[in-house]
């Protein structure tokens, strides 16, 4: 089937969205952006394809009235698939690490290190299924994050009991991880799905009866070729995007169109990203009518919250809940990231409460964002709020207040998948380009 791919190369993460001919999102994928943008694009795109595959599985199982609890089954299948992916990458990592054992540094201890590595990876492989067990909480879904923390933990133990310096094991890891992370996923996707399916069918007794039918349905879904009919990429200007000119659209346009796809009635879009803020006005067709950006200064953006979290020794996700406890937000007039620490310490020493300061900070961030929105043309119903900060309940609370006070009753849209807004818009551009719906782009 025809699919249209949109890829958004952000400063922190790269997103991809797959759209079908009926403008339905079949899949989306995300990966952390790294130095090699072409790889990030490929990985995100494949993640979207995987997700798309699951959508096809769901459709196949639904259409054929499979005798199985869909969400549970597909959940298990996905976990099994991720496990297969993880194991594959672990193999790659092990081989690469072993390959690093050369040179003077390892001269005397080469075989010891090899043995230790083998032990480390044995343990990693053994515990891997746990990581993907139902209900397991992972700090992150990115290979580097998961593998890294577990590797460090095991390597420390193993090195100690083997009487080897820990940093030797660290060294080979550090040298390998980037390479492994940047290697495009190998192996046939279909085979991975089949192996995953095998795991699930053998593990889950509830589906044993329906197993042969399920296998047929899955195979029928796998047989559908997700053809990448057209691709459009977008992302930050300073990046040399790994696409040719006809396949690039500005991130502002993609963002505006993506918001329109999610909420056709929206006219004003606010995006607070990691390091910039965009205020976008769109018309009824999702075309951008006006925009303002603040891209010179990260004050009030995601990074700012990151610094605050660091200063307060808290997790980023804990800031919002703590700020929610306050009913007397401190008046904070500057969200300068550089002085965030000093301002914080000053206020704490003056006796102000943490939650009040945090609430004040969240208000300051929103005020700053509203400045950008004001300059872009104000707020016209409906209002859509996207970006990482949109997940912060304290920020959302302040936003609702400010909008109510100054613009009255406005519908505020916040989508948990808003991080895909840009990629969604890009995918829609891809679809339109393919259909020859003229958007005026150069031939």
């Amino acid at each position: 089937m025809k699919t249209f791919v949109g890829i958004d190369l952000g400063s922190t993460t790269t997103k991809a969205v797959l759209l079908d001919e009926d403008r339905k999102v079949i899949g989306h994928g995300i990966t952390n952006s790294r130095s090699n943008y072409a790889t990030a694009a490929r990985v995100a795109s494949q993640e979207a394809r995987v997700d798309g595959q699951f959508t096809l599985f769901r459709r196949a199982l639904t259409d054929a009235h499979a005798q199985v609890e869909l969400d549970t089954f597909l959940g298990a299948l996905e976990r099994a698939f991720r496990l297969e992916q993880f194991l594959e990458q672990l193999d790659d990592l092990e081989q690469t690490c072993v390959g690093q054992i050369q040179g003077d540094r390892f001269a005397k201890v080469a075989s010891g290190v090899k043995d230790s590595l083998a032990e480390v990876f044995k343990r990693l492989r053994a515990e891997a299924p746990e990581l993907y067990a139902p209900g397991a909480k992972r700090k992150s879904d990115f290979f580097r994050d998961i593998a890294g923390s577990r590797y460090h933990a095991h390597a420390e133990e193993v090195a100690r009991s083997a009487g080897l310096p820990y940093d030797l094991l660290l060294n080979v890891y550090d040298k390998s991880i980037i390479e492994v992370e940047n290697r495009p996923p190998a192996g046939e996707l279909s085979d991975k799905f089949r192996r995953a399916l095998g795991r699930v069918l053998s593990a889950e007794s509830s589906v044993k009866a329906a197993a042969p039918d399920i296998q047929k349905m899955i195979e029928s879904a796998l047989a559908i070729d997700l053809e990448e009919t057209y691709l459009v990429g977008t992302g930050y200007g300073r990046v040399t995007l790994p696409f040719s000119k006809e396949h690039i659209r500005s991130e502002i346009l993609c963002h505006g169109l993506g918001a329109h796809m999610m909420y056709p009635q929206t006219r004003t879009v606010l995006d607070i990203g990691g390091q910039d803020t965009k205020g976008i006005q769109i018309d009824g067709s999702g075309i951008v009518a006006n925009f303002q950006m603040n891209d010179r200064c990260a004050a009030g953006c995601g990074r700012y919250l990151g610094y605050i979290a660091d200063e307060m020794n808290m997790g980023l996700h804990e800031l919002g809940p703590m700020a929610m406890k306050s009913d007397r937000p401190a008046r904070i007039n500057s969200t300068c990231t550089v002085f965030a620490g000093a301002e914080l310490r000053d206020r704490l020493s003056l006796g102000e409460k943490r939650e009040d300061i945090l609430a004040g900070l969240h208000r300051a961030i929103i005020l700053r964002a509203i400045s950008i929105i004001s300059r872009s043309g104000g707020i016209t119903n409906e209002f859509t709020f996207t970006g990482g900060v949109a997940k912060n309940e304290a920020a959302v609370r302040e936003l609702r207040k400010v909008i109510k006070e100054n613009y009255g009753d406005v519908t505020i849209n916040i989508n948990p998948d808003s991080i895909y807004t840009g990629a969604l818009g890009a995918a829609e551009f891809a679809r339109r380009a393919h259909l020859g719906q003229s958007d005026g782009s150069q031939q």
Partner: protein
């Protein structure tokens, strides 16, 4: 707020002034307007307008100096980029939020390009309000700048006459001039008291008393000043071991009140400043006899204060007004405090600093915004400055 029983008379007067200061809806001016039919209010921005003409038309001159640190700017930011000072955006905020909906006219004096351009913006945004850019001469010859200015004043007089529906007579102008002479005299007296005994007239209080003059009818303000002068002279307050400084650069966007308080808390008596220059712009009395417009013009040309927005034709004179202010008020140093992005204050500063250096007068400099929240750096700088002055004078 109810005044506690044993509050000093000074505190009670200051509380009244503070209430006026904090009222961003200008209720006292609204009440004044509502008290009689056909009353009009004319707003004006820094640095100077001839309020006498407005008063002579039976109208209330209302000084607008931005929204201060209690006003959140939401809509105003749609009009200005981040590298422009805050006073125009908070002024627009006051406008679009309806807080100035009772104001019938706005005067924008020639102080800088931002306020200049704001005059044009105001015409577009509030077309039903009489808006005027008030150009003052940079040529000080009677027959050149003087004539130009007299014609400017005549245009203003005519416009306000039309707004009122009745011409403004020379006698009305003379009476207004007399009242404003009196008011200026009282403000000078207040400043003189502060020079003489700064602990009796703390800078923050003096500020509130003078600031009240921006919203009160001149007669009421003069009465208030007399009250405060009497009370402040009578009340015994502890003397502090503060050094004496002149504050300069704050002639337009105003500092938060906390900033002024912080300066005194860190060891500096403010013995002179250029806050709200309009209240003291004309030095000495304007003659009450004769042609009032001519008198106002001549007073402007030859007996007015110096500031960054005013051209100094004589190189030798440049900056000397500051040296004289220091000497006159017995000050030991100068604090240059300018709003961020303020062209007049920041461009003038290096020249003024050279003059001070030649005269052996120490100084420090910092920037602020009308909504600055961080007083710690200000306290540190001012405190260090005060200490170093004391050390040097002891040596």
């Amino acid at each position: 707020m109810a005044t506690p029983v044993n509050v000093s008379p000074t505190a009670e007067i200051v509380a009244r002034a503070n209430e006026l200061f904090e009222d961003l809806s200008f209720n006292s001016a609204r009440k004044w307007k509502a008290a009689q039919p056909d009353r009009k209010v004319i707003g004006y921005m820094p640095i100077y307008v001839p309020r006498e003409i407005i008063h002579a038309a039976g109208m209330l001159p209302l000084g607008i100096v931005g929204g201060g640190d209690q006003l959140e700017v939401i809509h105003g930011d749609a009009y200005y980029q981040s590298y422009i000072c805050r006073i125009p955006r908070s002024t627009i905020e006051l406008g679009v939020s309806g807080r100035l909906d009772f104001v019938d006219g706005m005067l924008f004096p020639s102080i800088c390009d931002v306020i200049r351009n704001l005059s044009g913006m105001w015409k577009l945004m509030f077309p039903h309000v009489y808006s005027r850019y008030f150009d003052v001469p940079q040529n000080y010859r009677d027959d050149t700048g003087g004539n130009f200015y007299i014609n400017e004043l005549a245009e203003l007089r005519l416009a306000l006459s039309e707004l009122r529906g009745k011409p403004i007579s020379d006698d009305e102008l003379r009476q207004s001039i007399a009242l404003y002479n009196e008011n200026r005299k009282l403000v000078r007296e207040l400043y003189a008291l502060r020079v003489e005994r700064p602990w009796q007239a703390p800078a923050a209080e003096v500020y509130l008393m003078v600031r009240a003059g921006l919203v009160l009818p001149v007669e009421e303000h003069s009465a208030l000043l007399r009250e405060y002068l009497a009370a402040a002279r009578a009340e015994e307050r502890p003397k502090r071991d503060n050094c004496r400084i002149v504050l300069t650069g704050m002639f337009c966007e105003q500092p938060p009140l906390n900033l002024i308080k912080s300066l005194e808390l860190s060891g500096c008596y403010v013995v002179d400043d250029d806050l709200m220059l309009v209240t003291r712009w004309l030095i000495g009395d304007v003659p009450v006899e004769g042609d009032p417009l001519q008198n106002l013009a001549l007073a402007f040309l030859h007996h007015s204060e110096s500031t960054a927005a005013k051209y100094e034709p004589n190189q030798k004179e440049k900056g000397q007004h500051l040296v004289r202010a220091v000497k006159r008020s017995g000050a030991e140093g100068v604090i240059f405090a300018a709003p961020s992005f303020c062209d007049p204050a920041l461009l003038d500063r290096p020249m003024l600093q050279h003059v001070l250096k030649d005269a052996g007068i120490p100084y420090i400099a910092f920037k602020y915004a009308e909504n600055s929240g961080q007083m710690q750096p200000i306290r540190e700088q001012a405190g260090t400055f005060a200490d170093s002055i004391k050390l040097w004078s002891a040596a």
